[in-house]
């Protein structure tokens, strides 16, 4: 793509879309082949280091990977198609598509890799393409900064990932997932020592550290607390990118990774993950409440949903989490692309009316429902899916997670009241918040009047036009995927879902795991399904009511929204600023690092030289005589060792006073001293 000449830009982008479509079709075919069949695994020898098992790289295709393949390919294809329209005037068009291609390639790499090292490689490449795509409009300072932030924050997670890899490596000397599973099953914990089949032994805590380390990688990529700060900023990238990378696929890679290594985790790591997931889900939802940027709301919502998924994995609801990953991929992509359509339309509008306003700020929107029906319906459908209304996909998957979480709390607390219940409770509470912020957005964007037009009287709502057919088509496809019926015959019960029916929860093999933990979870989650559904329905209704009350067209909020400052009170500020995490990072990490870095430079410059000077000061007797020579020293001999050497030199040559008798005296004194020294 990058090397294709400018005039073929359209053709080239179509070709790449076509290729991805081909990929998508192939992946569907693969899914067909693979579905319920045995796992497909090939290995190629990659390279070797003497004395160690050979490093291999290969493809491991199991059900989840095959599904993920389809999701990635389809959404990527749709986004490619969408982008041909959305980006079509952009000067960086070719660059954009080549990076998009790079991204799709690396994402597929993550999905297919059979080897954690290879996963890590593609993991980084995905990060790179994310970096490049966020900074697509690199001349925007904020975009450049956001890209940097995304990469650096991800790096923090990567260090954890690497640590996890390193622990697995020293125990098992391999990164191959299947081999790891087998070896992990063969390792044992005795007296707090974790001994592997190969005979290496570590403190049992390292098993947890390995799990948490890998999870740290996922935290970075999937924007989990406290590393979620980069995702909202990443919205500086083009909207299709946000849809593909920062909503549907890349950020889900963390969840996917956790699913891949699920069997290797121990109970502490899982618990940690569940807690982090729940907290993130809650925090993301809160942060989404007070945003004004249409994409930021969605970004925080993504964070929140990713929190759900990781919580799902953490509570052992592996299948539910993956299920939510897939459903979420579609409806969130749909939401983003619809938001992109809105932005696109407003851009066109601004262009037409020569108005200057922020096309992403919801304060400028309103009433778009009438002019953009397609977009509105796509938005509506996927919003409903996100909130978890029955008949929509999100309902199925989210309820699966929640019931899993509830069952988990039961199991963990052994039916007694313990802190474990906070986790499903946070999950339920998030449902309320989700309903509130999504309805808020829906009302503010699509209902009421176009607020920017009320200020700019010349051209009203009429000037807003629906987006081109290509984009509309994409929205339709994605919108359809949000219906529950696609995923389950019985829209009220996810256990009827073909998805959950096929995906089996793998058995955790890490040593020290309670054997009946997983069966009990499944049993309990089947039992509490109805309660959970009831509660979450109640929550949604509550949320919907609150949202209607607060944000319905004509409400006080809606009327004053156009002129509304970013935040009105402390609580909103907390939400708007995403719990002040950025400042937290600044104060806790960035400032000290910068300070230390500058301090070290200063140390370089001053302290070392000063130390040498101080050393020289020991020669007090001669120091004064020397100072003027210091000033006279020119031409590059200004070096600290010269200070010292020079001082000695002046002392020695000052013996040379010019008076012959003092020469003799010095010689005699020298001899006398020597005699005294010998006699001593």
């Amino acid at each position: 793509m990058a090397i294709s000449p400018e005039r073929f830009r359209k053709a080239a982008s179509r070709a790449s879309s076509g290729l991805i479509l081909l990929g998508a079709l192939l992946s569907v075919y693969l899914l067909q082949l693979k579905w319920s069949g045995p796992d497909f695994h090939t290995r190629l020898e990659w390279f070797s280091i003497e004395g160690l098992p050979r490093l291999t790289a290969g493809i491991l295709l199991d059900d989840s990977a095959a599904l993920m393949l389809v999701v990635v390919n389809i959404i990527s294809f749709l986004v490619h198609t969408y982008s041909t329209a959305y980006m079509h005037d952009d000067p960086g068009y070719r660059r954009y598509f080549s990076f998009l291609g790079l991204f799709t390639f690396s994402m597929l790499g993550i999905v297919l890799a059979d080897n954690l090292l290879v996963v890590f490689i593609f993991w980084e490449l995905v990060g790179l393409s994310s970096y490049l795509l966020i900074s697509h409009w690199y001349d925007k300072e904020s975009a450049a900064k956001a890209a940097k932030k995304a990469f650096v924050v991800n790096r923090i997670g990567d260090v954890g990932f690497l640590t996890g890899l390193a622990v697995l490596w020293i125990q098992f000397k391999t990164f191959d997932l299947e081999a790891l599973e087998a070896l992990m099953a063969n390792s044992s914990i005795q007296n707090g020592q974790w001994t592997s089949f190969l005979g290496y032994s570590l403190n049992a805590d390292w098993l947890t550290i390995a799990g948490i380390g890998l999870f740290l990688g996922a935290m970075g990529k999937s924007a989990q607390f406290p590393l979620q700060v980069w995702l909202p900023d990443a919205m500086e990238g083009p909207t299709p990118v946000s849809a593909l990378i920062h909503a549907a696929t890349m950020v889900a890679a963390g969840v996917f990774l956790m699913a891949r290594v699920f069997v290797l985790l121990d109970i502490n790591a899982l618990t940690f993950m569940a807690a982090i997931g729940a907290v993130t889900a809650f925090m993301g939802a809160v942060a989404a409440l007070a945003q004004h940027d249409i994409k930021k709301v969605l970004a925080y919502s993504t964070i929140s949903q990713l929190g759900y998924m990781l919580m799902g994995i953490g509570v052992g609801a592996y299948d539910a989490a993956l299920f939510h990953l897939f459903t979420h991929a579609f409806f969130k992509a749909c939401l983003f692309l619809a938001a992109g359509a809105v932005i696109y339309a407003l851009h066109e509008y601004a262009h037409k009316t020569n108005a200057h306003f922020d096309a992403q700020d919801m304060r400028n929107m309103g009433g778009l429902r009438k002019r953009m029906p397609f977009t509105f319906f796509a938005y509506l459908v996927s919003t409903l899916a996100l909130i978890g209304i029955p008949f929509f996909s999100g309902f199925l998957s989210k309820d699966a997670i929640l019931s899993g979480a509830y069952a988990w709390a039961d199991v963990m607390s052994q039916e007694a009241l313990s802190w474990h219940y906070i986790i499903p409770d946070l999950g339920f509470f998030t449902v309320v918040l989700t309903a509130i912020y999504m309805f808020r957005q829906l009302f503010l964007v699509f209902f009421g009047k176009l607020r920017i037009a009320s200020q700019d009287q010349q051209a009203g709502l009429q000037a807003v036009k629906e987006v081109p057919p290509v984009m509309r088509g994409v929205l339709v496809v994605l919108g359809v995927m949000s219906f529950g019926i696609i995923w389950s015959v019985n829209p009220f019960d996810q256990s009827y879902s073909w998805f959950l029916g096929t995906i089996e929860v793998p058995t955790i093999v890490s040593p020290g795991f309670v054997v009946d933990w997983q069966p009990r979870l499944i049993e309990l989650s089947l039992r509490n399904h109805l309660e959970v559904m009831a509660i979450s329905m109640a929550m949604i209704v509550a949320g919907g009511v609150v949202a209607w009350y607060l944000y319905r067209p004509g409400s006080k909020y809606e009327r004053t929204y156009y002129k509304r400052p970013a935040t009105m009170n402390k609580l909103q500020a907390l939400s708007y600023n995403n719990w002040y995490l950025n400042d937290f990072f600044n104060v806790l990490v960035k400032k000290p690092v910068t300070a230390v870095a500058q301090g070290l430079t200063r140390v370089e410059k001053q302290v070392i030289d000063r130390a040498i000077n101080a050393f020289a000061v020991i020669n007090v007797i001669i120091a004064h005589a020397i100072s003027w020579i210091d000033r006279a020293v020119v031409d590059g001999f200004v070096n600290f060792s010269v200070f010292f050497a020079g001082r000695v030199g002046v002392m020695t040559k000052s013996l040379q006073g010019g008076k012959i008798q003092s020469y003799i005296l010095i010689a005699i004194m020298g001899m006398v001293l020597m005699i005294l020294w010998i006699i001593w």
Binding site: S48, I49, F120, D139, A144, V638
Partner: protein, 577 residues
Amino acid sequence: MLNDYLLSTLIFLPLTAAVIIALLPQPAKQFYKYIALFVCFVQLILAGVIYFGFNHNLQGVREIESFQYTEFTPWINFELASLGKLSANYFVGVDGLSVTMVLLSVVVLLIGVVSSWNITEKAKGYFSLYLVLNAAIIGCFVALDFLLFYLFFEFMLLPMYFLIGLWGGPRRDYASIKFFLYTLLGSVLILIVMIMLYLSVVDPAATAVELNLASNIENVSPDIVQQVQDMLLARQVPVENLVHTFNMVYMTDPGNYIPNSVMDVQVVRELLGQPARLLAFLLLFIGFAIKIPVVPVHTWLPDAHVEAPTPISVVLAGVLLKVGAYGLIRTGYLIIPDGAIHYAWWIGLFGVISIIYGAMCALASRDLKKLIAYSSVSHMGFVLLGLASLTSEGVSGAIYQMVSHGIISAALFLIAGVVYDRSHNRIIENYSGLASKMPKYSIFVIIFFFASMGLPGFSGFIAEVFVLLGSFSSSVVNGLIPRWMTILAATGLILSASYYLWTIQRMFFGQFFTKGPVEANSLTDINRREYLMFIPLFVLALLLGIFPGLILDLINQSVSLFVETVNNHEFKIPHNN
């Protein structure tokens, strides 16, 4: 026939060319660079011959007969009065540890010539000095005789001194003298150890000849060597028949040490209250650490880099720093493995400190070149950490990192050179939004910056990952490096991402403008010659990132023997509690 003299050709070709350039009359000025280019190109071809003819299964390291392309010519032989004889030989050869370094140097030196294309001022001196430097570098990597190694090691200093001092930036005087003094200090420390070693080690083959056990050196069988060693241990060899040797391979064999000599392996001699061998290792370590450079003794590097002309920075970072690490491997680790094990913790610590400290300083640098220079400090820290771990992964990673850093840092300094050539200014704040003004250049910058921060797909990733894995598993395998060091070192990855990305953000992204003395119009995109330098480096970095086997296959056997040798050394470990 060619194979017999391949390494010598590699060394003496540039020397000859340097003399030719020096003798050519002034009107032949424009040919100097072509001669230099031709010579480096021939070297590349010869190195290619070495690469493809290299037998992967021969280990070298401590087995004198499994070195390849060896050449042996007696050099200095005379009696040392009451101590026996002194023998230094012109003994060169490569094994897996050195062959990679030779390949790397040849490539980087060729790139260096290309990037010197615009040097017209005092071109004669420049190119002849460059070629002398070239010869010394190659010599360092192939020498198997300590004296020969030391000769080449010292011989690098002077050309470098002049190259920085004559063609450098405004503060070149200071930088060059600082460079010279620092490195000379280092080599003096190495000299002490060299004296200690050759007075303690005998050449069993030559001694056998002296003892009339064999007619000449070629006829000495392993049995005879064993016999000599037994006699040595039993103190049956008359003093006048001892042949003191500088042979670095013999120095790795405990059997060749004279009983009760200073470096003796059986009895721990003490110097200044310290076991002599440990002290010797320490001296070697400090000596080479200056060259690597390791943090407390690194301050010459930023100055030298900032002031050096671009091609010299390229060679300095690409190859010269590796000489330090290579020297440490070849001498410190192999000859004094007991010291290496004893000080492994400290070496690892200094590695980690270098990683973090270098990255911090890079973060605070305002000068692009200084930033890259400090990043070199940081990256060479990984080499040290990998070596300290003494695991296959770690050591392979360390050597891989040397190669990788050689390629990538060369490219980075070329990058800094591109801006400097055009605007004579390297202060990061003076630039913004170069991506719009110099798009192709920016692409290369981003590629190499990411390569340098260890992005997978590039060579640096493999290297750093294996260093980290190695140092992490060290705690289980041999218990040398604690795990927290690895985790700390891994945070260096975050820092490197921050300083590179911050630089990209400040210099290349955003609206285009320039400040200070920078002329906006002078900033033109890269030309064909610069492409010619960037593309091979890019291809190499990528190739090595995707097919690590290209290098690992060469070094595997040697590294495995190296690790085994050092870990299971038969030298008595001095315990001082």
